[in-house]
Symmetry: C2
Subunit: 502 residues, 2 copies
């Protein structure tokens, strides 16, 4: 027990040190707040300044402590709320003072009490309105406080105007120090946090999907200990969870980002709301990814022998999806437009291969082992009428993909040619008889992979919309910037995001 | 434009009125805050009371406005934070005052300034620690503010003890009025919100799954307009989303609930954390539900003819899952234990039927139409060796389910008998040749249904754990309470939940 207590300070120090190393901006923020407070305390400590503001300096402290937030957007938003709340409350208080002046002292007490009750009720109730709750909850709080203070002060003190003026001055001083610290000295932008967290989410999804598919086809008996596999799975799952649970922090960041001076000169208003929308699309993509991940943990597992047959095409599709996501992340990171043409061809090819592989195993889903030794005579039907369409996985997906392109018709005709070439020849097929129920989970796995490709399209669409709205630069050949896929940086970014989110 | 402006007040009033009707507790909360503020204002307005507290009454106002939250738990938590923060800050300020006393006036200013800087930095930095952020963010804020106020006051004022005493008195008065209002007069409990939102989530999942499966098999050509279908789908999706996005609000509610006096007398500490855990399990269940829902919106659709074959067994499984979820919701609502035996038999049966149905269509997943006219000769192999195991969907699921029961062995032997009886006879099977790719999405749908049953087990387990930990009453036959499945009440509960969450 004693040893534990003795170790406590050491471990606490270690945690604090690690926190600072993970994100030095936290230390900087701490120093900024401390500096702002010290500057305000000069108002109180230095004789000549004290004469002027002294007694009201406390309000300036309060303003600094409450308003100076981690990011510039949050500080601006809170400062504005505080200023506006105080102004509105002052005006209303003056109006009530004007009305109350005409009544006697006794009546006046009742009048002041009643106005406190009514305004208190109204302000509290208004805070439940979703729009107000989201945008100016703090402003209404400050409004209520200031109104009560001024109205009650006016009951005892003669010159309320002085009180109000001093209040506004000190709050003004506090707010300007906050803005100075927040906007000019090493500012943290909510917008950049949102941008980098979105990039990070794309990268994490890419990594998770790759790991998930390779895990699905990995031979568990060889190498890798159970514990290691467990931790890698947990890591995988955490990757999804960051994406799936990002809703509220995304919205908060976007809200604060909309308060920040836009760093893009070309466009009218930076489209932060599209980041939130992209986050939503990524979440829907993530649901499929989680369902895919669920195939790993499912109680009913397809035997390794069956999986092995489809390993290559599945891995291929997963690789292409991963590549697309990574490419999206890179283009977003460099604020340049995304060029879907480069990828869709490979994706096409991979889907085609998967389709072919699945078609080449028609008996995979045949009945139970009781039908083990049955014979199948294939009769090749040479008369394939030309009007027979082949609504395969690939054709559907390719239809979606090709809609995005301009050369629709040319492409399609090429596709159908390819399809003809790739038609399986049933007589040569390997025939295996397997439990239907065992193959069912694999069918789900494959179907989810295909579904994922369909959802990927929505992601690509959303990133393109974002690129257009934010006036990203056009894509010009390959860019040299390499994405840093190391865990450390991304971990940091994610943590910042949650820090700010609250 | 003018008309729009003229209509604005009317529509605003309508919104406010609707908000109040949806949840009258909001109006009550508003009235409570107003009443508390009016009571505090008596301290200032009435002559005899003003003599005692008057000048410091403002702090009491501030305490009421900031501390009096919507639920009792939140008020308690904030009040405690405020009190503790003030106490700690006062002690530290006295200590620093004691040290500073021994230095000269000039030195003292520097000393005070330095201590403001150091404490300001430390407090701000500490607020980034996740544990502190979650539990006492507000306390650290108040600590910092109080510390600065007292330390600086001690520089100018002789008797700091008086200031501190008055501060503590007024904060004490403010807090006690808050607690009185919050705990004794029509209290809103975070715990009850959490409880009812969990019940509501279960009900919503049940409704969504039922609607999703019936939608999947519905004939779109007949009846129902496109718009109606669209809105019903949106409603469906919103049901999931409430579950999937509930993480942060669940955690907040559970945190505040842990502050509330427990209403259960029997158990030591009410297990609110298990509600959060159940929420997590429900979210993982929800991911499968969303993936299932994705089958409705998928780009590749299985033709109606194929779906029709499996309509009955699939609907059966969905109905059983829905029944189980509804039963879970009812038992949780009535705070009684859940009895899984009642349901698992039906669930077994439904899974078995689905398995049989899928096995009865072995050719569903055969190649493309180019192999349209091929002939298959089934040769029934009568020699089924007894050691051949049948790892079917059903057997796996039943294994999980039966583990939950006590009569493990007896059940299992019965199961395997059933399985033998249900083995399909391939010769009688209807043979249809269909595109593999078209059947693939259905395989995914069926597999997700089965996966859902597997996940349902985790939900049941979690509800049982919760029931044990919270000492729910034992199940005694059927209870009479009927769940109100109407949308209105649930909508209200969900909204409360988000209201409190922020």
């Amino acid at each position: 027990m004693m040893i534990k207590f003795r170790k406590l300070p050491a471990s606490a120090c270690k945690t604090l040190w690690k926190m600072g190393r993970e994100d030095p901006r936290r230390v900087i923020h701490g120093l900024k707040v401390a500096a702002a407070l010290t500057i305000v305390s000069f108002l109180y400590l230095l004789e000549p300044l004290f004469e002027g503001f002294g007694k009201n300096a406390m309000l300036a402290f309060m303003t600094v402590v409450v308003v100076l937030e981690f990011t510039a957007g949050a500080t601006l938003c809170k400062g504005f709320n505080r200023g506006l709340g105080t102004l509105c409350a002052s005006s209303l208080a003056f109006f009530i003072e004007f009305v109350a002046e005409k009544t006697g002292q006794k009546c006046r007490a009742a009048f002041v009490g009643a106005s406190v009750f009514v305004i208190g009720f109204m302000a509290t109730y208004l805070r439940f309105v979703p729009y107000i709750k989201k945008n100016c909850d703090y402003g209404v709080l400050i409004f209520l406080l200031t109104f009560i203070l001024i109205t009650l002060s006016s009951y005892r003190v003669e010159n309320v105007l002085n009180i109000v003026r001093e209040r506004l001055y000190t709050i003004g001083i506090g707010c300007s120090i906050c803005l100075l610290m927040s906007l000019l000295i090493l500012p943290n932008w909510s917008g950049e946090d949102l941008h980098s967290s979105t990039v990070c989410k794309l990268e994490q999804l890419a990594r998770s999907i790759e790991a998930c598919v390779s895990d699905y086809f990995k031979d568990k008996d060889i190498g890798v200990k159970e514990e290691e596999a467990e931790t890698s799975r947990n890591l995988l799952y955490r990757g999804y969870r960051e994406v799936l649970d990002s809703k509220s922090s995304d919205e908060t960041l976007a809200h604060f980002a909309s308060w920040e001076p836009r760093f893009s000169r070309n466009c009218h208003k930076y489209p932060w709301h599209l980041y939130v929308k992209l986050g939503g699309v990524l979440r829907r993509f993530g649901y499929v990814a989680v369902a895919l991940h669920g195939c790993l943990e499912s109680e009913i597992q397809t035997p390794r022998s069956i999986r092995y047959i489809f390993q290559d095409p599945c891995t291929q599709v997963a690789t292409e999806v991963t590549k697309a996501l990574t490419e999206l992340a890179t283009s977003l990171k460099n604020r340049r437009r995304f060029c879907p043409d480069m990828l869709s061809d490979h994706l096409h090819k991979a889907l085609q291969d998967l389709d072919t592989a699945i078609k080449s195993q028609p008996r995979l889903f045949l009945g139970s082992k009781s039908a083990n030794n049955m014979l199948v005579n294939w009769k090749n039907d040479k008369e394939t009428s030309p009007r027979v369409t082949l609504p395969s996985v690939k054709s559907d997906i390719s239809a979606i993909l090709s809609e995005l392109r301009h050369k629709k018709i040319a492409k399609r005709s090429k596709d159908s040619e390819e399809r003809k070439q790739l038609r399986p020849t049933p007589s040569k097929l390997a025939i295996k008889s397997l439990e239907f129920s065992e193959a069912l989970p694999f069918a789900s796995f494959a179907s989810l992979l295909v579904e994922m490709v369909a959802r990927l399209d929505l992601v690509i669409e959303q990133v393109e919309e974002l690129g257009n709205a934010a006036n990203f630069k056009e894509f010009q050949g390959k860019d040299d910037v390499v994405i840093d896929m190391s865990g450390k940086e991304n971990g940091r970014e994610i943590q910042n995001q949650t820090t700010v989110g609250e």
